[in-house]
Amino acid sequence: MGLKNLGRTSRKNLVTYLIAVLAFVILEGMVLTGNISNMLEGQLVPICAYVIAAVSLNLTVGILGELSLGHAGFMSVGAFAGALFSVSMEDTITVTWLRFVLALIIGAVAAGAMGVLIGIPVLRLQGDYLAIVTLAFGEIIKNVLNAVYLGVDENGLHFSMKDSIALGLSENGKVLIKGAQGIVGTPRDSTFIWGFALVMLTLFIVLNLIKSRTGRAVMSIRDNRIAAESVGINITKYKMIAFSLSAALAGVAGVLYAHSFSSLVASKFDYNLSIQILVFVVLGGIGSIRGSMIAAAVLTVLPEMLRSFSEYRMLVYAIVLIVMMIFNQSPKMVEWRKRVFAGRLKGAGHNAAKKGGA
């Protein structure tokens, strides 16, 4: 199959998939041959979760063009729904992969439903207002999850917002969600291979969506809402599709994340995490799916790698952020990058100095 037969976008997408595969092969090789530090090995699944979160946020920020600051909230909904399922079904469903797949579906659906619910009021807003309200919703989700107590005994489920004693469980009862202590004893079902598979699935969904009738409708709203309406695009519908799909994929990231640690607390998913995911998206280039993926991976590993620099760690991190910003956004660098990489990809000269892209 000649690369030339593919369109420009398809070729770009292919490179994105290849980068993901290559990174996976190298890292998995390092794991199998034991050439990986414990620290990095422990980060592999979270990296995948952050990549999925960043790519899904880019759907809202880059493709729909609305700034969302509550992405961690959707991650936590997915994480809690998935982990809750796995904890309560640990003895019933013993086939690990089946339990994990079901947890993923439940997490995605729960987060997607939350996306629809929050989307109804939020998507009436635009710009800064939308950003602030999503920030608030993210915090609300976190605080509510922080206060929830849920237990189970032979009489069924018990729910309280007070404490675990208020649940009134019988002696054989089991507390599933313990307020601020969250969920304990989640089976550690997610592996690096699962993480990679889910990254590929996310890329597949998002990249295919962008280059389709639906993706074009969403981007037309981003570029000019009035013109989009004038050619018959149902604004509410397509905003909702993009926003809820973005939330559902964040839910997948949450499930993956939750199943890589045995305990899960809601306070992990605060606005700092939302901002961190947004940093991945902005530094990778708004609207660039490949950029989000790379930025999420690099910026997750980096602070850990820099531990040996002790107090200079954050300084180096900041410098890397600035360098990435220049590399990705400065018009001269973009021009240079396009020239060098486009030339290498296609062989023949291709002066594709165009903005955006996947």
Partner: protein
């Protein structure tokens, strides 16, 4: 029955009556002009016809269907397409994709089909591409298909906007100052294009324009607005010699 019947159309913004008691009657296949001084309410009429503004009074009947106050997307599906005075393209998308967005309600497949890349996706995309390229060819834009819309020169952007509007398969096309910013030879070419579009697509066209040679040379019927009211209507000949129009707009 006329294609578009507008009766007693009016809109007030607070205390300002921007458009008042406007009646329009457009026959199928006709070429109509809407002229008048700046601030007369011409674009406001367009905005009401396309659902951007909700009229405070009056009715808009398209092809026997009452579309008064319906949302823009519904009106687009009912068969009215438009261009904008200040060009509104999807700047971050290619020229081809701009037209494909216009085809949104003409060639359809579901989001599910798109994500899973099921066979109908490829079929419909091919169909869309064919139709979009056909439209681009009419406007001489086929070689710019892969350009970003925002990178096109001004004249081509105007043409692309018309191509995108036509992609929605309209019965009525509204052009808001299509010749604005064009030089005489470009204007001449645009006249040819508008005539061709009317013949080729068999649609009705209503346009706003300040270039009098363009309007007079092209339109069969002209309506003149001043301060939101119709002060004259008729053939170019009649309008040109109407003392009220000369006083308000054309000048002596």
């Amino acid at each position: 029955m006329a294609l578009l019947e507008v009766s007693n159309l009016g809109i007030a913004f607070g205390g300002l009556q921007a458009v008042d008691k406007v009646d329009l009657r457009l026959e199928q296949g006709g070429l109509y002009g809407l002229i008048g001084p700046n601030g007369a309410g011409k674009t406001t009429v367009f905005n009401m016809l396309t659902g951007v503004y909700k009229p405070t009074e009056g009715d808009i009947i398209l092809d026997g269907k009452n579309i008064t106050g319906k949302p823009p997307a519904t009106i687009s599906k009912a068969g009215i397409a438009r261009t904008f005075q200040n060009i509104r393209l999807f700047g971050g998308m290619t020229v081809l994709d701009n037209v494909k967005v216009g085809l949104h309600n003409q060639v359809k497949y579901s989001t599910f089909t798109a994500v899973l890349r099921l066979p109908p996706f490829f079929e419909r995309e091919r169909e869309m591409r064919g139709q979009a390229m056909g439209l681009l060819k009419i406007f001489g834009l086929e070689n710019d298909a892969k350009q970003m819309a925002s990178n096109l020169p001004y004249g081509k952007q105007r043409k692309l906007e018309i191509a995108r509007a036509l992609a929605t398969n309209p019965k009525l096309l509204l052009l808001d100052e299509p010749a604005a910013g064009m030089n005489p030879s470009e204007t001449e070419e645009l006249m040819e294009t508008v005539r061709f579009v009317r013949e080729h697509f068999g649609i009705t066209i209503l346009l706003i324009e300040h270039d009098m040679s363009f309007v007079m040379g092209l339109c069969e019927q002209i309506t003149v607005l001043d301060y939101g009211r119709i002060i004259a209507a008729g053939t170019p000949e009649m309008v040109r010699n109407d003392p009220k129009v000369i006083a308000a707009y054309l000048g002596g």
